[in-house]
Point group: C2
Chain length 201, copies 2
């Protein structure tokens, strides 16, 4: 059964073909269908960090039910407790934009730091095409304080090329800019994303 994080199937394929060490870190690894499970099934040593203890537990239980030790632990992607060049692959899916842009830059520095030279990184961002861009109190630069399940959460939205400079020191493999229109809880929604797959030099 494919998982819902469709763009990560391309990332997994790139990692498999890239002949990098089969160790992977997921930043924002918690929740009900952890994609680390797909990496584990392909022979990767997996590690995840997650801010929320409940989501961490749900992900680890998903793995345990499949005989997989996913190793999702509590952690903050802005301060990773791993040595430089620890992982062959690092990704963060639908997560990093839940921070102000200043923090996004700090987190990306950490993701790159723990990645091995030659290793692959996947990160995606919300874009200004998203139907929620403009909703809630604006903190400037398309950063908004919005409510998710009744709780205030920052959402940072990017212009299509705004995140390019984050990866100026890396080799770009794939950049996909996409608008997805579907229904969520019965209502039509439009989401805008830009996904990067880059390689550390």
């Amino acid at each position: 059964m494919p998982l819902k994080q469709t763009p990560l199937y391309r990332f997994l394929k790139v990692c498999n073909e890239g002949r990098v060490e089969k160790s992977v870190l997921d930043c924002g690894a918690g929740g009900d269908t952890p994609f680390l499970s797909e990496f584990f099934a392909q022979g990767y040593l997996t590690t995840g960090v997650e801010l929320d203890a409940k989501r961490m537990a749900i992900a680890n239980e998903y793995g345990q039910a499949r005989g997989q030790s996913l190793k999702v632990q509590l952690g903050d992607m802005r301060r990773l407790g791993f040595a430089d060049s620890s992982f062959g692959c690092v990704y963060s899916y639908n997560t990093i934009f839940h921070m102000p842009k200043a923090d996004v830059e700090v987190a990306l520095g950490e993701l790159k730091r723990v990645l091995k030279p030659g290793g692959y990184l996947f990160v995606n961002f919300l874009t200004v095409d998203d139907h929620r861009c403009g909703e809630g109190p604006c903190l400037g630069l398309n950063q908004y304080e919005q409510l998710d399940d009744g709780l205030p959460v920052i959402h940072s939205y990017y212009e299509h090329s705004e995140a390019d400079p984050y990866f100026a020191d890396m080799t770009q493999h794939v950049k996909e800019t996409r608008i997805i229109e579907w229904r969520y809880e019965g209502r039509p929604i439009r989401q805008g994303f830009v996904d990067y797959i880059v390689q550390k030099r």
Copy 2:
């Protein structure tokens, strides 16, 4: 190992969750990594049609090497030799735009005809964002005669909402408009696609 047809993982997930009959038809099913193999692995009865005998053989051999009978046969998606309402799921990936738009409409009529009521359809189109849109002799309406591997092939490019009316009689589940920038044989390329997942009423 994930296959290269990343968007079809979402389609497979939708089909699995949709409780439709597990029978699937792929139109343009040939080539070196047939996605029918992923459907077969999930318990689907698979059928494919393919215009090219060599690509048909390659796909069936891929299945045979994995103990899968994919059943890819010679056929033309504009004239499908199947009864009405034969399949729970039908898809055509990176194929239908290799025809003039008049033929695309004929083919879509066939895809819908052989789909069961309640069944799911995936089709994708090239968009005018594609870096090759405008290349070669124009046949009008963003239809171009271009060379693929030295042979003349029609490519039809669509505006972002131009294909919407094809599915006016269906329920739209997902529409994804995407621009993918990567390298092909060393050169930077930009491809534009719009993918639809719709359900027959």
